[in-house]
């Protein structure tokens, strides 16, 4: 089957301009704070962040444990590293909630859009039904005419 390559896929569209009204309102028209919130959550929730954090921890522990280095700033049991972890957690929690709140807002908006569209679709469906009923009515009249003609012909 030939695949239409000219039309942008949903994934490509995400990077440029959104088609869905909820995405338009939510992403294309996001405020500065909302954009930063999205960047923060996608930054913390990435493999890059996890990788860099792991390397950072490894270096910290190595520099503070090996005899070769003389200037140690946080020897065993790494109390300052503990503080660093806690600071990270203290920010991750609120950022997690921030991103959750964003998603909840989006969900709210999506449902409102669904309700509006469903209402329009239902109206359209009823209109289709009415139109078909009108068609049936007309067809019935054609049939009646033909029958009357047959009776008149006496066959």
């Amino acid at each position: 089957m030939a695949v239409d390559t000219s039309a942008p896929t949903a994934r490509q569209r995400v990077a440029r301009q959104h088609k869905h009204p909820v995405n338009q309102l939510f992403h294309d028209e996001a405020t500065f704070g909302e954009r930063v919130a999205d960047k923060a959550s996608s930054g913390i929730g990435s493999w890059w962040f996890l990788g860099i954090q792991s390397v950072f921890i490894a270096i910290w522990i190595v520099l503070n444990s090996i005899e070769f280095f003389t200037h140690k700033w946080d020897v065993y049991p790494f109390i300052l590293l503990n503080l660093a972890f806690t600071i990270q957690a203290a920010f991750t929690g609120p950022v997690l909630l921030l991103s959750g709140n964003r998603q909840a807002q989006k969900d709210r908006l999506r449902l409102e859009h669904t309700a509006e569209v469903a209402e329009a679709a239902e109206k359209a469906t009823l209109e289709i039904l009415e139109e078909i009923e009108r068609n049936t009515e007309a067809t019935l009249q054609v049939l009646e005419r033909l029958r009357q003609r047959r009776v008149a012909r006496g066959t």
Binding site: A90, G93, L96, G100, L109, T125, L140
Partner: protein, 168 residues
């Protein structure tokens, strides 16, 4: 025979679409009330006191003012304990009490995140239940339309047999 005209159902015309977009825009920045979707109504307008409190808690903790205030507090804490003059250094380097305070915050943040998550999963459940209702209604409509078209086809076939019976 004349060209068939494309009829756009009234509910799908551009004016209606624009109106929907406008209402959506108002709902986006507006207060969390007067919802159209039953799941939103159940979630926001019919929330119990505990649920409202959970939402407010999540909204307060997951906000820029909270994050900025916390940062300022941390910086001030470290500043006063390292360089602060005219004030007792109540938690000198490596800031063990600050660690405790932040751990305390994290201890509450976890359950609050889960509280918010539970609220959302409850909403998801309501949404799906409503979607099932809607799908039933859609099915009903489709059956009605199909029945009507079949009736129409039946009549058209009868017309055909009437025409065939006519002398050429």
């Amino acid at each position: 025979m004349s060209q068939p005209v494309t009829h756009i159902p009234e509910a799908l015309r551009d004016e209606v679409k624009a109106l929907i977009h406008l209402r959506l825009r108002q709902a986006h920045r507006g207060p969390e009330e007067d919802h159209k979707h039953p799941a939103n109504q159940a979630h926001y307008e019919e929330a119990t006191r505990g649920e409202r409190l959970a939402d407010q808690l999540a909204a307060a903790m997951g906000s820029w003012p909270f994050i900025i205030a916390q940062s300022c507090l941390m910086i001030a804490w470290v500043y006063f304990n390292v360089w602060g003059i005219f004030i007792a250094h109540w938690d000198p380097y490596p800031f063990i009490l600050l660690n405790l305070v932040l751990s305390f915050q994290a201890t509450y943040a976890g359950p609050i995140v889960l509280l918010a998550g539970n609220r959302q999963s409850q909403k998801d459940r309501i949404t799906l239940e409503h979607a099932a209702d809607e799908s039933d209604k859609g099915e009903e409509h489709i059956i009605k339309i199909l029945t009507e078209i079949k009736k129409n086809t039946e009549l058209t076939l009868q017309i055909l047999s009437e025409l065939e019976a006519e002398p050429a």
